[in-house]
């Protein structure tokens, strides 16, 4: 097994301060397959509260499958997913958002036929009636989508779509946000803007983020912890700063 420096479910303490409380999201020995292909092969990792955890790796490393298995869209063949002490491995997809986990799937996931505002409202549907101020807050975070609130969502640019789906997920008031390749196809300036905003939300509002990204450089620049995935296995878990500094690892797995 190549270079497995951190293994099992113990997260590596990061950024100087140590996390002693149990992790918000624990993924233990998770295995799942697409047909005959084993996409996840015993993946264990944790995402701590108030942190950004970035799962990195090349195309086909199992990043998307990891998030889809965590949120129940793909059923695991073994292993556990524990959210805040509660085993959610076999919980229904529809129940996840109510448990505090919002998954923004790959490819933006805007509902093109609905207006921008209706898309946002879908994020708050399960909560019942929601104060207007909560929508205003999202529009304040993303002024660019505020201008288009009554237009159909298919007129939005790629960056605006990403803002919309993140805003929609925030309206669900999640404790942990699962983001699948938010930087995909976006200009570097927009990526920096979105990642900067995530950082602020994590720091100021205690949001937690589990991010999967192929764009390792951008992801590590904003994340606290990095987990490198290769062919369905965790290769290394370490602080984002350490991973950034490890030239061999970057060349071998992260492509920069």
């Amino acid at each position: 097994m190549p270079d497995t420096r951190a293994h099992g479910s113990t997260a590596v303490a990061t950024g100087g301060d140590t996390a002693t409380a149990p992790a918000l999201l624990q993924i233990e020995d998770l295995t799942s397959s697409y047909g005959a292909v084993r996409a996840l092969d015993g993946v264990s990792l944790t995402a701590d509260a108030g942190r950004i955890t970035a799962v990195l790796g090349a195309n086909g490393a199992g990043k998307t499958t990891l998030l889809r298995t965590v949120s129940g869209l793909v059923r695991s063949s073994s292993g556990r997913v524990v959210l805040d002490g509660e085993d959610i491995t076999s919980a229904s997809v529809e129940s996840m958002v109510g448990r505090g986990m919002a998954h923004v799937p790959e490819g933006r996931g805007v509902i093109a036929e609905l207006t921008v505002h209706e898309n946002l409202r879908v994020g708050a549907l399960f909560r019942g009636k929601v104060e207007k101020s909560e929508y205003d807050r999202i529009y304040d975070l993303f002024p660019r989508i505020a201008e288009r609130r009554d237009q159909p969502a298919h007129v939005l640019s790629g960056g605006e779509r990403q803002m919309l789906v993140i805003g929609r997920a925030l309206l669900a008031q999640p404790r942990i946000l699962l983001l699948d390749e938010p930087s995909l196809g976006l200009a570097p300036r927009i990526v920096a803007q979105i990642f900067g905003l995530l950082r602020r939300l994590v720091d100021s509002e205690g949001l937690s983020v589990l991010l999967v990204e192929q764009n390792a450089r951008s992801a590590l620049s904003v994340a606290d912890v990095g987990v490198v995935l290769n062919l369905g296995r965790v290769v290394v878990t370490d602080s984002a700063r350490t991973l950034m500094a490890d030239e061999d690892l970057r060349h071998a797995y992260l492509g920069f």
């Binding site: 996840m96 036929e113 298919h154």
Partner: protein
């Protein structure tokens, strides 16, 4: 001139019913990408339930409400029991299943209610209003037909535009996975969509039956007209279905009113209209499929 007005009025009334039926098809197509060929048989079944009640001495209105409620149940039942198991498989499977259902329900109607022609009553008169010295082709019953369809459409607009459940239904139709991830019970919404479509289809069946003879296959031509109207409008668009229904109703009425032996040509005319529209605008008049792919 008076003849033209009468032909137009007849066309509008018929077109309204085509619109309603097309709307039922569109509701299901939008949410599940299935053309429900059983819609006509389902509507016929509820019409026969209404007829049985009326023959047992109940009023038209009681029969109407019971029929619409049975449509609701039937739609939900069909989605849960018959459609759900084949969903996610090849798209053709579900269509074949609805074709099978079309035949099966018609057979069931014949077994339960017999296959004889029976006359179906109307709640209002069939004699045209008097305008000046002339009677026009607008009857109290056609006013009822037009208003029933308009009210139904208005209720659907309110449901889909202004209520949370309507938003959940639209989200389920257009973004199934995203909706599930955001906690929408997509399965329930699809069942509800089929149930509502069956209610609208049943209403169309009851309205077209008024003043006519019904038999197990009496909806067959309405299926064709409703389908043509839905395709005219682009299959994806409720407004398209309504406009498509009205255009078709008018066109068929003009063919039958102005072409020699036109009433025999009505079915052919429907096909010609369908072909011309598909050649000129393959996506239908109100195609929104480009937006969908974006």
């Amino acid at each position: 001139m008076q003849y033209f007005v009468n032909v137009t009025l007849t066309g509008l009334t018929e077109g309204m019913v085509y619109s309603a039926f097309a709307l039922a098809l569109v509701l299901i197509w939008r949410s599940t990408r299935i053309v429900n060929f059983a819609q006509g048989s389902m509507a016929a079944a509820t019409t026969f339930i209404a007829l049985a009640l009326i023959q047992a001495g109940q009023s038209y209105w009681v029969a109407l409400i019971v029929a619409l409620l049975s449509g609701l149940l039937l739609g939900a039942l069909v989605e849960r029991v018959v459609i759900r198991p084949v969903e996610g498989g090849p798209e053709l499977n579900a269509v074949i299943v609805t074709l099978g259902l079309f035949v099966a329900i018609q057979a069931a109607i014949a077994i339960v209610f017999g296959s004889a022609f029976q006359s179906f009553p109307t709640p209002f008169g069939l004699e045209g209003f008097q305008v000046g010295d002339n009677r026009i082709a607008l009857t109290p019953n056609s006013v009822w037909v037009i208003s029933a369809v308009l009210v139904t459409m208005a209720l659907l607009v309110v449901l889909f535009r202004f209520t949370r459940i309507g938003l959940a239904m639209r989200a389920s139709a257009f973004g199934q996975e995203v909706a599930r991830l955001l906690g929408v019970r997509v399965g329930r919404m699809l069942t509800l969509g089929w149930a509502l479509a069956a209610v609208v289809g049943s209403l169309a069946g009851l309205l077209i039956a008024g003043g006519e003879f019904v038999y197990p296959a009496y909806m067959d031509s309405l299926i064709v007209f409703g389908f043509v109207a839905a395709v005219l409008g682009g299959l994806d668009s409720p407004i398209g279905a309504i406009v498509g229904g009205l255009i078709l109703g008018l066109a068929l009425s003009y063919v039958s009113g102005y072409v020699e032996r036109g009433s025999a040509l009505v079915n052919v005319a429907a096909l010609v209209i369908l072909m011309v529209v598909l050649l000129v605008r393959p996506g239908g008049l109100f195609a929104s499929s480009t937006a969908r792919r974006a």
